[in-house]
């Protein structure tokens, strides 16, 4: 019997060790926190910023809109900070004037040089716009080739550029010129395959990329001769940390100064009361929505889409999944905070109205199984696809499934690999899928038009009489005001029978160590990690601080 008792004892001992370690952990606060030797003086030698993913060699062609904040450290735009502000401030450009509905003349700031010392001239601007339009497409191309579509770009002299549009383009300065980073002609003119161009980028921006180890590290050096004043931070070291827990553990341990990743809701309280740590709320211009497959019946019926939108209680989603950190998606698509969004859009939650519409379409529950059937008898059963690497979206999907069940629609959730989900818009193999829209899609008005035509929200090959008419009218408007209110009417029409049912606008919270650097500013759609936070206060491009 002796060794039997010994075995039981050893098993007990093992589990005891685990429990002991557990309760021992909760009280002990982190003892040593590495203090970087920064003083309160504005001059900061090095800042360590964790980024969530590797963005490639920052050559505009291998990174999507998530990494604009990195690209714009190196490159500048004619106007700044972005199309998401009411009226962007001239940056590389001195001024821009519209001489007739189709032509703009832009004067450039003199004396600006590229990182390699070459002068910045109109030739660079002309080359860049043509390169985006005619060369290999990238995420900016549609601002030149479609909405608006610029036919002619001439460099009348070394400091002025003349743009001619195919149709009226009153908002050129506000949108396109504030969105396209300018490339150095003397480098890019002989790059035939931009996607394989892996050299370190040369731009005009406040920082210069000096080292890039894929999936590991970026290192930027300050550009002392920056025409808007030399940056307050001399060196930026950006490690790539993919795991959220690892990121915030490093921040807490003082191994990084700030994370270019928003703090997940469940960590807010912990980080709010950490010493030397500050948490700032920003209104991001991103949203999470349900994309409906408008080509498949019954989604092709506008009334059915309206019923779906009415059946979802968005506030409950925010309270449960985001723990209240965000706003219910009752202001429709695109993002309400964008200056280009119709302020009085309304996508309410009204379960009875939804049921009424469904009955009106006589989608009723004939066989009494709690699920309605269409006229032809097929039950309203659809698949909801979601990326398996986004736990919050999967949880959102579960809640939406419960809510639609209340109105007699059954969903089955399929968590798929993110690559597959992103490809659904093109492959069309879905009923509904959860996606998110970055500021570039949710706040840029021209992008809203492009998405109506490129398949995201609608397809130009598919007849949509009222929307097509408004689109023609939009093309004719010559002033910003006229264009804006045609846009508003399009947005109002869209949200009445949305093919993108907005669920919520998540708030973003950023945490940073105050002892490292505390000049962080917010630029709409960029959060607080962007080049304007490092520039002298007078050159902050309209960035504003939210408490």
């Amino acid at each position: 019997m002796k060794n039997h008792t010994r075995i039981v004892l050893s098993a007990l001992f093992l589990s005891f060790v685990f429990i002991l370690a557990g309760c021992f952990s909760s009280e002990l606060e982190k003892s040593e926190s590495q203090k970087s030797e920064s003083e309160s003086k504005k001059e900061v030698s090095t800042l360590r910023i964790a980024i969530p993913k590797d963005a490639g060699p920052l050559n505009i062609y291998t990174s999507n809109s998530d990494f604009d904040y990195l690209v714009e450290l190196v490159f500048d735009k004619l106007f700044a900070p972005s199309p998401y502000v009411a009226d962007p401030e001239p940056w590389l450009a001195e001024s821009a004037s519209q001489i007739d509905p189709l032509t703009w003349v832009v004067k450039l700031k003199p004396g600006i040089t590229w990182h390699d010392g070459q002068p910045f001239t109109a030739e660079d601007v002309k080359f860049t716009f043509e390169y985006y339009r005619d060369g290999t497409p990238n995420r900016h191309s549609h601002h030149v080739s479609e909405a608006p579509s610029i036919t002619k770009i001439e460099a009348t002299d070394s400091q002025t550029v003349r743009f001619t549009c195919e149709y009226a383009c009153p908002t050129l300065a506000h949108i396109t010129l504030a969105d396209l980073p300018i490339l150095p002609k003397h480098i890019w003119q002989d790059v035939k395959e931009p996607l394989n161009h892996t050299g370190l980028p040369v731009g005009t921006g406040p920082f210069r990329l000096v080292e890039h180890k894929p999936d590991e590290l970026y290192r930027f050096q300050a550009n002392e001769q920056y025409f808007k004043g030399s940056p307050a931070v001399k060196e930026l070291v950006m490690p790539v940390i993919k795991d959220p827990s690892a990121t915030f553990n490093a921040l807490r341990a003082g191994e990084i100064d700030i994370a270019a990743r928003e703090v997940s809701p469940e960590l807010l309280d912990t980080f709010k009361n950490l010493p030397d740590m500050k948490v700032v709320r920003t209104a991001p211009l991103s949203l999470v929505d349900l994309r409906l497959n408008y080509e498949r019946p019954p989604f092709n019926q506008p009334e059915f889409r309206r019923a779906l939108s009415l059946a979802i209680d968005r506030q409950k989603l925010v309270d449960t999944v985001l723990l209240g950190q965000g706003r219910a998606g009752t202001k429709g698509f695109p993002h309400p905070d964008s200056p280009w969004t119709n302020p009085d859009l309304n996508t309410p939650f009204d379960q009875d109205e939804a049921k009424r519409i469904l009955e009106q379409l006589n989608f009723n529950d004939h066989d009494g199984d709690g699920i309605r059937e269409t006229v032809s008898g097929t039950p309203l059963e659809f698949t909801l696809k979601v990326a398996s690497t986004e736990p919050t979206w999967i949880r959102t999907g579960e809640l939406v499934k419960n809510q639609l069940e209340d109105v007699g629609i059954r969903l089955t959730i399929q968590a798929l690999d993110p690559g597959v989900v992103r490809g659904l818009t093109k492959s069309r193999e879905f009923d509904i899928f959860i996606s998110n829209s970055t500021p570039h899609s949710a706040a840029d008005p021209d992008q809203f038009i492009t998405m109506q035509r490129s398949g995201n929200l609608w397809k130009k090959e598919l007849p949509y009489p009222e929307m097509d008419a408004l689109f023609e009218e939009w093309k004719q408007t010559t002033t910003i005001e006229d264009r804006k209110n045609v846009l508003f009417r399009m947005q109002e029409l869209f949200n009445r029978q949305p093919t993108s049912v907005v669920l919520y606008y998540p708030d973003e919270y950023w945490a940073y160590r105050t002892d490292a650097y505390d000049q962080w500013m917010e630029s709409p759609g960029y959060g607080i990690v962007h080049k304007y936070s490092f520039l002298p206060s007078d050159a902050r491009g309209g960035a504003v601080v939210h408490e």
């Binding site: 807490r252 398996s388 579960e398």
Partner: protein
């Protein structure tokens, strides 16, 4: 039967498994809340109403934990079943039919083993879309390969067994042999394989879910860990009640299979059951108190016998009571005399040899009698004294000497080792002595560097004899030294033994089941029957005068060479 440990572990494993199965079956009925329902605010710490608190969207973790048992076990067990099915079929076909089927299957297994398992899982899961069926198929696809190889080698071994070849000789076809003989023989080996597969299956399901490739709409421990990790349970205290319990449940269910697997494995492979003791064999408590006398050296000429064994008895404790293998045996051997012991299989002669050398392994035990060797009782020697005695004063030539040599050392190294065990001389000198010994037993020194497997049976036997004589012992016990050897080689070895015995004036106990062999070497002979010596008599020039009926029958059975009348064939 199993050893106590294995029985205990097997029992614990079984108990845990039953508990887990109950959890899986009764889950939905005993769970306090519906795990899919959002019943409380998220991230609640444990409280009386929610024993393990709530998860990131407010579902009760305790209910989730219970409900998850079903999926994790289901995936693990079902994938193991499918994998075992594939493995067995592939193993049997490859093992039995061989030829191109075997080559293809085995190369398929090789290819499968080069493909890293997790990426293969990811790609297939991506292609088929996550879901339980995909997981089960993918895991089964990964586990079957090693099983196929293991079963194939077992089938190959089974196929060489006598009764399988007998059936083939009678004219049985492949299918008959597979069904009638191979399958029943291989089945007991399949069960531990299946258990190990289930073990791997559960672990893989957890890894898949942890990487987010599981089916999130289904409750499983792996998914709980996925959400816990992605909602950074580390950084808050939530890890205690959100991260720990699923891990413990996974470990428990895998543990149940591992423990069962270990117990079953031991039942199938008997060697694992042997318990091994070094040094003197255990003496039963009630042995006679030996008189503690200084071990003195007996002068060579004294008339007393070199070894006198009095009422020696050895018992084996088995499941159904103690069996007395050696029953109060008495005999003696004088210096330079050869005592032959003849007994058929099971007569206790080998047990007695082991007892003399104090090499009895449990469950064998010395239960009585004394063995006086040069005045000392062997039974009372302690480990150190025994160590000094073995192969120094008394040497053993073991049964089945064919594999008594360590396969990984050269012959010379094992000889030198035997010498240095008792003689404090320099290694180079020991090497010279070793070569001399090899010559003594008729092996040319150039073979000294050879390994045992490079020598024939006869040569290996000679090396063992050389080892026995390494420290010129006064008594040599030869236990069936020539069994299994070729008839001509047998004659040569006997020639060598008798020659060495007379030249070195060794006392020798020659044990064999073959009366004719013993008669050709022994001065005196003892006949053993069921543990007792029934007859002792002297032998002169190969003839002895048996007075016990059994020994008379033995003598009558001795083959004779005489002509008989047969008409030849053309």
């Amino acid at each position: 039967m199993n050893t106590p440990i294995a029985r205990y572990l097997g029992f614990t494993g079984f108990a845990i498994l039953v508990f887990m199965l109950l959890l899986a079956i009764l889950g939905p009925f005993i769970v306090p809340y519906d795990p899919n329902e959002l019943i409380a605010p998220a991230f609640q710490p444990p409280s009386w109403s929610y024993l393990l608190g709530t998860n990131d969207i407010g579902q009760d973790i305790f209910s989730e934990l219970i409900m998850s048992a079903r999926v994790s076990l289901l995936v693990g067990v079902v994938s193991a079943l499918i994998a075992t099915l594939f493995g067995v079929i592939a193993g049997l076909v490859a093992g039995y039919f061989g030829g191109w089927a075997e080559t293809i299957l085995m190369r398929l297994v090789d290819v499968k083993l080069t493909l890293p398992f997790l990426p293969l899982m990811i790609v297939v899961a991506v292609f088929l879309g996550p879901g339980l069926i995909t997981q089960i198929l993918v895991i089964a696809l990964v586990i079957w390969a090693p099983m196929a190889r293991e079963l194939r080698s077992q089938v190959l071994t089974a196929r060489r067994r006598g009764f399988v070849e007998a059936a083939e000789a009678i004219g049985a076809g492949g299918r008959y042999i597979l069904r009638r003989h191979l399958l029943p023989n291989v089945t007991p080996l399949i069960i531990p394989q299946f258990v190990r597969a289930a073990n791997t299956g559960i672990l893989m399901e957890t890894s898949l879910s942890f990487l987010g490739l599981g089916d999130p709409t289904v409750k499983s421990w792996g998914m709980m860990l996925f959400y816990a990790n992605s909602r950074s349970a580390f950084l808050t205290d939530a890890w205690l009640w959100w991260l720990l319990p699923p891990g413990i449940c996974i470990t428990l269910s895998v543990l149940s299979f591992s423990l069962l697997g270990y117990a079953l494995e031991e039942r199938v492979r008997p060697r694992l059951r042997t318990s091994w003791r070094f040094g003197a064999s255990e003496r039963s408590a009630n042995k006679v108190r030996p008189l503690k006398r200084e071990p003195q050296e007996q002068d060579p000429e004294s008339p007393e016998p070199l070894l006198s064994v009095q009422q020696l008895s050895v018992e084996y404790v088995t499941a159904n009571g103690a069996i007395r293998a050696v029953d109060s045996v008495s005999f003696s051997v004088r210096r330079g005399e050869v005592l032959g012991i003849v007994g058929e299989s099971g007569s206790g002669k080998t047990t007695m040899a082991a007892a003399l050398m104090q090499l009895l392994k449990p469950p064998g035990r010395l239960t009585g009698g004394r063995m006086l060797f040069a005045g000392n009782d062997l039974a009372s020697l302690d480990a150190a004294e025994l160590k000094r005695l073995r192969n120094n004063r008394i040497a053993l030539i073991p049964q089945a000497a064919m594999n008594a040599l360590n396969p990984v050392y050269t012959v010379q190294k094992q000889l030198v080792e035997a010498i240095l065990a008792h003689q404090k001389i320099r290694r180079s000198e020991a090497r010279i002595r070793a070569n001399h010994l090899l010559q003594l037993v008729g092996i040319t020194p150039d073979r000294a560097r050879a390994y045992p497997h490079e020598l024939s049976g006869g040569m290996r036997q000679r090396v063992v004899i050389a080892i026995a004589l390494a420290n010129n012992p006064s008594l040599v016990i030869a236990d069936e030294p020539t069994t299994g050897l070729d008839v001509i080689v047998q004659a040569e070895i006997l020639e060598l033994l008798t020659d060495l015995q007379s030249r070195l004036e060794l006392a020798m106990i020659f044990i064999s089941h073959d009366l004719s062999v013993v008669l050709s070497v022994a001065d005196r002979i003892a006949i053993m029957l069921e543990g007792k010596i029934v007859d002792q008599s002297s032998v002169n020039s190969g003839v002895f005068h048996p007075n016990h009926p059994y020994s008379q029958r033995l003598q009558a059975a001795l083959p004779r060479l005489k002509s008989k009348h047969t008409i030849p064939f053309s």
